[in-house]
Amino acid sequence: MAAGPAEVRPAESNIGSVRAKSRWRKAYESSRLRDVPFETMSGVPLEAAYGPDDGEFPGEWPYTRGPYASMYRSRLWTMRQFAGFGTAEDTNARFKELLASGGSGLSTAFDMPTLLGRDSDDPLAKGEVGRAGVAIDSQVDMERLFAGIPVGEVSTSMTINSAAAVIMAMYIGVGDTTGVERAALSGTIQNDILKEYQAQKEYVFPPRPSVRLVADLIRFATAELPRWHPVSISGYHIREAGSTAAQELAFTLANGFAYVEAGLAAGLELDQFAPRLSFFFNAHIDFFEEIAKYRAARRIWARWMRDRYGATSERSMQLRFHTQTAGVSLTAQQPEVNLARVAIEALAGVLGGTQSLHTDAFDEALALPSDKAARLALRTQQVIAEETGVVHVADPLGGSWFVESLTDQLEHQAEEVFARLDGLGSGSMLEGVIACIDDGWFCREIADAAYEFQSKIAAGRWVHVGVNGYTDGDDGQPPTLHIDPAVERAQLDSLAAVKQARDDDAVRASLARIRTEAADPTINLMPALIEAAARHVTVGESMGALEDVFGTWLEHSFV
């Protein structure tokens, strides 16, 4: 890591001082608190955080113990269950159900063709329409997806990357057509393209024009969508692809630094956009390592933002994150056992101080969640929030010799990766990350870790209950969600109707504008994409126009 400015900023002047605790207490006491008794079941009153007078406290630099002084005493995490399947109407009904049963935010899963910017009538989409998420071809589908849902009030998360700018344009269009101010739209779009080249592999364009699209959306959101998080920097998929916890931490934060540099290169002021960057981590089954990972992430981000990039606003230094339990930890064998895994993983996320949480459904190793499985997943979070009492005390494991040491070790391992990337990028993390995408380094590191783990299972040195141990009693599969093949037909008909009804000249003009503006990296593409969405240009058409200019990316195959 390059040396940062040597001056001591006010945020740090407090560390090691006996004033640390009183300063935190003051911040805590000025926070609005939920109206619940902060005590144990037996009536023992609880402090909001524990530690020595000169120790680190939540909401205080370097935020290892949490971004806020009062944490869950003020506000529980957002229980945000990821949902999407079939047509826009199918998913709209699931959204309304989740909101009615106490979910506090929406999270949209798109089908594979939408994620890759292809329309439902694309030859490569055959068989995948509405399968792994909801099919969106045009703004008309987006309007159906959010019909009857107040988009100015509910916060919405959208998990999409390659086609993020195009889908975001359509969501803005939903607001525009229903009379909701852009400034009122709140939520998150994943829009983290770098980890696609490293792990999830849902890329379309080469890395550089893709990063430009990310930066365009950051710029646009900074100017017009003050309540929107334009990037969710995601370790989740890196971990699911097989990385270790330390790699997840390191690669994710490195990508974060790369986006910071891309935002600065786009002419933005750091403290204008950095507070809107958010993170998304995995909650795997190795309980304490996961908690240490979240703590290390907060501390690293604070240090880098202040010392390397010169942030002055505390909000730029405070890492906030969403968590999802580890899909890859779930088993198809004895699937009900997954309820126990998910509860443990979710608890790690909460003890690690997550701002929002998705708990996986127990049947997800078999299919998309059934209604019942989706409800049980949400109930698991409610048990943690309402019954266990773990929400009363922030960072309850802070000060544990074990967890503090693990936090330091993960931080150290991550710093080694940063040093490598920084060196390869000659002082630019963005260049270092792109260089390592180009030569396949991330993919090799992740594949090596995945294979090593599989070898451990094969050798019986790690027992996956129900898979390589305790295998009796597999009573067959529970009923799973079935996607009616009629979904694809219905979506194709609806797409044909949209194409029939629109003004073809306007569509052509919009596509020409996208191509022209794509060729000029100084222009922000968002206005052209919003105009195209309003004219019912499809996802595939807008993405195709961009691809004409940007080209296509193919990874190196290796074993």
Binding site: M112, P113, L115, L116, R118, L124, A125, K126, G127, E128, R131, A132, E196, Q200, K201, E202, E240, A241, G242, V328, L330, T331, A332, Q333, A365, L366, A367, L368, I446, A447, A450, Y451, Q454, I457, A458, H464, G466, V467, N468, T471, G476, Q477, T480, I483, P485, L554, E555, S557, F558, V559
Partner: protein, 142 residues
């Protein structure tokens, strides 16, 4: 490490799904078991797979699917191979619900390896596929 050439295996993901962790792990398991692995990787079509199978003269084709499109894609892969005049056996890996297994098998797929398949089950399924034994595998190999 085995000292013989056990066979040539083509591994591919069909369609848009990018979840390649399983396919990459399987590639290494098979390589360690002495197979020659031709790794076609992501975004393959059934036609591309058939062309590669012909050109590389492989003994078995393994396709990985996590996108719920197995009922469309599995028959299409078998069909493309047969259309190219190849009798190469096809093994599917990934998430295929039990209720869909008979239909996938009827389409001409000789084994399905589900989540949690062990290294031995992976190798046994490929061995049996090459030997022309249908319905191989137990447990997670279905």
């Amino acid at each position: 490490m085995p000292d013989r050439r056990a066979g040539r295996v083509l591994l591919a993901k069909i369609g848009l799904d990018g979840h390649d962790r399983g396919l990459r792990v399987v590639a290494r398991i098979l390589r360690d078991a002495g197979y020659e692995v031709v790794y076609a990787g992501l975004r393959q079509t059934p036609e591309m797979v058939a062309a590669a199978a012909l050109q590389e003269d492989v003994d078995v084709v393994g396709v990985s699917m996590h996108n719920g499109a197995h009922l469309t894609i599995a028959p299409a892969v078998v069909g493309a191979l047969r259309g190219a005049g190849l009798s190469t056996p096809v093994v599917v890996g990934g998430i295929v619900p039990d209720v869909d297994l008979p239909q996938v098998r009827e389409a001409g797929v000789c084994a399905v390896l589900g989540p949690g398949a062990s290294n031995q089950e992976v190798v046994a399924a490929i061995e049996d596929a090459i030997a022309g034994v249908a319905g191989s595998g137990a447990g997670a190999g279905r």
